[in-house]
């Protein structure tokens, strides 16, 4: 493998790992702040116990998320120096603003939240929880603005042999960014909600801490249901936006080869990239793809064969990842509705509880797949239509990247194993009795 592939692999591995932890941080930060606020408002000790129990899950997860984020910032310089030099004028400033305006906030106040229980009034401490949530989510907002610029560059001009900023406001308010922000922040709620429901289900199945976990479960239902509905509605706008701005990505997501009017969606298809067609396609639903892309069943949708081969993303993986994500997203809505219906009869619904326990990994998978669609679907570009990934890599030796790739595998295995072991152990143990 050459430096480009190795660096791509390393960036994929490290960002995918990072994003195992980030969504839970994003979603759970609001939930914990809400729980603590309820405690301050009502004086109900169960809410305090909830804050502490779910707060501990949050903190273990937060630690891994934070330390693995720096890796990504570093890699733009270490592995993608061509990219950094070419677009740093715009992309670099977004990362710098993220650090200054958001990352400081979450990192400073997380320390105060952990150690400040005795130092601050109850109200102030709950306020700190909100600041952590705001800081974490604002961080994500800036990073997503930066990522959206790679997907759909705006507000720039090519000057002095690089991309230079011309309209900062256009960069931070573009539609692609707004949609991506809504998508990521609400899917984080789904993940956090399902984790809460899953862990609660474990204890409810054992009929222990029933009041504590029934109430937690119901908070989880709200997050899962509202989050998954928002993702679905936003996803519709998102698909239309992608159709307009990245038509070849949409074609790969649906494995559509020929430009067609009334483009159907095939319930089952197997792409054949070699021959530019689908090896198998059965059960078409006519016009649905046209409708998803353009809001009109008769509209024309561009197929992959309209684009030169060297401007197409890898079809099979993009297609499968998109399918998987959508299927899981649909499942989240349905099961959340069912959970909502059964919300006051949780103990009498062992099947639901079992399903929710085993559903914990699913939002993780859906979010990972979503990033595969977004980032693999962006290839062969590092910045859509502007710079190819192969032109962006640093002048470094493959042996250097292999060494660090192995290093990341070792260090991240340790982190992942230890982090999830701690969360698992804590989740299984349940809330401490003295706090409850």
């Amino acid at each position: 493998m050459d430096v480009v592939m190795l660096s791509r692999l390393q960036f994929y591995a490290t960002s995918a790992f990072h994003f195992l932890f980030v969504p839970l941080t994003l979603g759970l930060s609001w939930i914990v702040a809400y729980m603590e606020t309820r405690y301050v408002r009502t004086g109900d000790e169960t809410y305090l116990a909830m804050t502490k129990f779910w707060g501990k899950v949050f903190l273990i997860n937060f630690a891994v998320g934070v330390v693995t984020g720096i890796t990504l910032e570093f890699q733009f310089g270490t592995n993608w120096s061509g990219y950094s030099a070419y677009v740093g004028d715009i992309f670099g400033s977004l990362l710098a603003i993220e650090a200054t305006a958001a990352f400081f906030l979450e990192s400073t106040f997380i320390g105060i939240w952990i150690f400040g229980w005795q130092k601050l009034s109850k109200k102030a401490h709950a306020g700190v929880a909100w600041l952590v949530a705001i800081g974490s989510n604002l961080s994500a907002v800036w990073i997503l603005i930066a990522n959206s610029w790679m997907q759909h560059p705006v507000g720039y001009t090519i000057r002095n042999g690089r991309a230079e900023l011309t309209d900062f406001f256009a960069v931070i308010t573009q539609e692609f960014a707004v949609l991506q922000i809504i998508h990521v922040l609400s899917s984080a709620f789904v993940l956090a909600g399902f984790l809460i429901m899953g862990i609660s289900a474990y204890h409810l199945l054992k009929k222990q801490h029933v009041d504590f976990f029934s109430r937690s479960f119901r908070i989880g239902i709200v997050c899962g249901l509202v989050g998954s509905l928002v993702v679905a509605v936003e996803g519709d706008f998102h698909a239309k936006d992608v159709t307009e701005k990245q038509p070849v990505k949409l074609a790969a997501m649906e494995s559509l080869w020929e430009t067609t009017r009334q483009a159907p969606i095939y319930l089952f298809a197997i792409p054949d990239e070699e021959n530019g067609r689908n090896a198998v396609e059965i059960l078409p639903i006519p016009g649905v793809l046209s409708f998803l892309g353009h809001g009109d069943f008769n509209a024309e949708v561009q197929g992959l064969n309209d684009f030169p081969r060297d401007e197409r993303p890898p079809v099979l993986l993009t297609f499968l990842a998109f399918r998987g994500m959508v299927a899981l997203g649909t499942y989240f809505i349905l099961i959340s509705i069912y959970a909502f219906i059964r919300r006051n009869k949780l103990l009498e619904s062992p099947l639901l509880l079992k399903i929710m326990l085993f559903s914990i990994p699913l939002p993780y998978i859906a979010i990972q797949l979503g990033w595969v669609v977004t980032e693999l679907g962006r290839q062969p570009w590092i910045v859509w239509g502007m710079m190819r990934t192969s032109d962006a890599v640093s002048p470094i030796a493959a042996s250097q990247v292999i060494t660090t790739l192995v290093g990341f595998m070792l260090v991240y295995s340790l982190l992942g194993f230890a982090g999830y072991y701690l969360i698992f152990r804590h989740a299984k143990k349940g809330p401490s009795l003295e706090a409850a």
């Binding site: 903190l59 670099g92 106040f109 640093s394 804590h426 706090a435």
Partner: protein, 342 residues
């Protein structure tokens, strides 16, 4: 308004603040296995930096981010030429970060020993390596006009680079030991402050050697000779270092720590001022030097970033100062009893 000049010094300032704040975390982490004799003392040491280290480390992210935003070409060439050294720093910082959170969660000696080791390595290695990296930047890095590095990790471990590493390490050890003087009491405080007194003469020796070696190995003094008033920065730094010893003798730990902080900022600026206008000089040919003039972002980006910095940096400093004030007390046994702390 000379935006490039302003950003050059803000760039230096961010690194200086990072070394000043996370520097004592590195010091405490390096001393950790040696002066934390019991588990309670170890926990006390972690709690002494626990509420603050994360916010301190963000100064590194900000310094990196500002390098990226204000001087993209420097970011690209610096990070790719120093690939192995920076990755090593990164790995060790990652391990340090999770160790604080993980260590106390399971009461098992083997589990704790694993994360204790990571805390030490994750403090010692960055302290040393940041010094090595910056000393090498001061004397120039062997890279060509295409940004290709002609050397290896070992190239950086030359005598001057190592001297820089040792100087940083000693400065941070002193800084961390004095922080423990503020934050702990009894036997632990006694041990920490004895270390501070012991390390101080070593810092002086390393600093003198570094100042002399810089004369022969680098062009740092050119700016000072051109503008002799700048020598006052060196004078203030030396004075701050001497003051550290005075306050140690008086057992005025906070004042000694403050003087030590000033020493670290001064030491960073000694190099930054000497570098100007270079940010990343090449040792192969001065024509390849990346400077504030030839490697900066567009005026618009520099302007927007300046507005962001003027608004947010004071806010950040304000809430971090509040946080330092909130946790200025000595760590008491009651602080260790809480479930959610480290």
């Amino acid at each position: 308004m000379d935006l490039q000049l302003i950003w050059f010094f803000l760039w230096g300032l961010l690194w200086a603040v990072f070394f000043m704040t996370d520097g004592f975390d590195f010091g405490v982490g390096t001393l950790y296995p040696f002066i934390g004799k019991t588990d309670e003392e170890k926990q006390t040491m972690i709690t002494a930096i626990g509420p603050l280290w994360d916010g301190n480390e963000v100064w590194l992210v900000a310094a990196g981010g500002v390098t990226f935003a204000a001087f993209p070409l420097v970011y690209a060439v610096m990070f790719s030429t120093l690939y192995s050294a920076l990755m090593l720093i990164l790995f060790t910082l990652i391990l340090r970060g999770v160790s604080f959170e993980f260590r106390g969660k399971i009461d098992d000696p083997r589990w704790k020993r694993l994360w204790d080791t990571c805390i030490f390595v994750g403090s010692f290695a960055p302290a040393l390596l940041f010094g090595v990296a910056f000393a090498n930047i001061f004397q120039g890095i062997p890279f060509d006009g295409e940004g290709v590095y002609h050397g290896s990790l070992l190239t950086l471990l030359n005598p001057y680079g190592l001297l820089g590493g040792v100087l940083f390490l000693l400065l941070f050890l002193q800084h961390g030991a004095l922080w423990l003087g503020i934050k702990t009491d009894d036997a632990l405080q006694g041990r920490a402050t004895r270390v501070a007194a012991m390390v101080w003469p070593l810092v002086v020796v390393a600093a003198v050697l570094f100042l002399v070696a810089s004369w022969f190995q680098t062009n740092l003094y050119a700016n000072y000779l051109a503008h002799p008033a700048l020598f006052s920065v060196i004078a203030i730094t030396v004075l701050a270092l001497l003051t550290v010893r005075v306050f140690i003798a008086r057992k005025a730990w906070f004042k000694a720590w403050f003087a030590s902080a000033l020493t670290i900022v001064g030491a960073t600026f000694f190099g930054v001022i000497g570098l100007f206008p270079n940010l990343f000089p090449s040792s192969l040919d001065a024509a390849f030097n990346l400077t504030a003039r030839n490697a900066s972002s567009s005026p618009l980006t520099l302007k927007i970033m300046l507005v962001v910095a003027i608004i947010f940096v004071p806010i950040v400093i304000a809430y971090q100062a509040w946080s330092y004030n909130l946790f200025k007390h000595r760590v008491a046994p009651a602080d260790l009893a809480h479930d959610e702390t480290y």
